[in-house]
């Protein structure tokens, strides 16, 4: 019984850690309109590392705080250069990216 509980706890910890490492937020200057932000979401959804099973096909845009949430596939690595290029192709200016946990809490800041 103890071994089963330990195994489940380890499994949960692994899953939790993996999930938290796969969600990111990008602050994007000027992204204040949902219609205009369609292009950013469209460009980002085409990236191979985006996980379409989370958020809205992998992307969520918060125009009130100028943030773009993205889910990254567990078996892929986020490419910041490709990501920022896609946002610029969508018509906006990416500023900063950081990882978040499952509760949306900031984990780290990538420069």
């Amino acid at each position: 019984m103890l071994r089963k509980i330990t195994f489940l706890a380890l499994l949960c910890a692994m899953f939790s850690g993996s999930l938290s490492a796969q969600n990111y937020v990008v602050s994007v200057h000027g992204i204040v309109c949902e219609l205009c932000s369609l292009g950013v979401a469209k460009k980002l959804r085409k990236l191979s590392f985006i996980d379409p099973s989370n958020y809205d096909k992998g992307i969520k845009v918060d125009i009130n705080n100028q943030l773009v949430y993205l889910a990254v596939r567990e078996d892929a690595a986020l490419d910041k250069t490709v990501l920022f290029d896609a946002i610029e192709a969508g018509g906006y200016q990416p500023i900063e990216i950081w990882a978040i946990d499952s509760a949306g809490k900031k984990l780290e800041v990538s420069q």
């Binding site: 204040v32 309109c33 949902e34 219609l35 369609l38 125009i63 100028q66």
Partner: protein, 218 residues
């Protein structure tokens, strides 16, 4: 870029005509974005059906077209190249736009006309404003759209704008004003516009202006 400069020189050598952006000033502002809109307009006792389209090469360069249909005949198609310079800063975005246009004689005539407009738009999550000055043949005009925006956070928004249109021409002057309502859900845009004369010293103008349209962007 040389092509754009060539086009600017080309239309600068012609007369004037105006092509406001179809669908909406704000979209599509992404590389290789496109949209199409159909709009019914009633003014001067005439109902005109417009077919309008836009293609965005990159956020700073677009191409638009407008084709009118009234009284069983097509009118002159208008092709324009809006050139924009965007500024993004936190919760604010703005753009200056220079829009040369060409009216092609698809309505049966033989004259090619051209025009130019200069616009400025600014937007936050709760306020939109657009100012556009233009020349059109013997006409000089100013369009102003300003008003609050209500976004639901789930991909739809309602723009409740107030429009003022002032035109000075050889036939006189007129100022029209009224509400503009624009609602979109995802990539579908619905727009309604009504303007009444505030000042009408124009011998060629009579009554109100009503327009309703629906468009989609990709």
């Amino acid at each position: 870029m040389k092509g754009v400069l060539y086009l600017l020189l080309l239309v600068g050598a012609c007369n004037t005509a105006l092509a406001h952006q179809p669908v909406m000033d704000m979209a599509p502002r992404w590389n290789n974005g496109y949209g199409i809109q159909t709009r019914t307009e009633h003014a001067n006792s005439t109902t005109t059906q417009w077919l309008e389209g836009v293609y965005t090469f990159k956020p700073s360069v677009r191409m638009t077209f407008k084709l009118p249909y009234a009284d069983g005949e097509f009118g002159d198609a208008i092709v324009a190249v809006p050139i924009k310079h965007y500024k993004n800063a936190g919760g604010f975005t703005s753009s200056w736009g220079l829009t040369p246009s060409v009216a092609m004689p698809t309505g049966g005539g033989s004259d090619w006309d051209a025009g130019l407009s200069l616009s400025y738009s600014a937007e936050t999550a709760s306020l939109f404003q657009l100012y556009d000055v233009y020349t059109l043949g013997d006409k000089t005009g100013l369009d102003v759209n300003i008003g609050p925006v209500y976004a639901d956070g789930n991909g739809s928004s309602l723009f409740t704008l107030w429009d003022v249109t002032a035109v000075d021409s050889a036939s006189g002057q007129r100022i029209l004003t009224g509400p503009v309502l624009m609602y979109f859900k995802r990539n579908v845009v619905v727009r309604f516009e009504y303007k009444m004369p505030l000042l009408d010293n124009d011998n060629e103008w009579d009554g109100d202006f009503i327009s309703a349209g629906i468009g989609i962007v990709y």
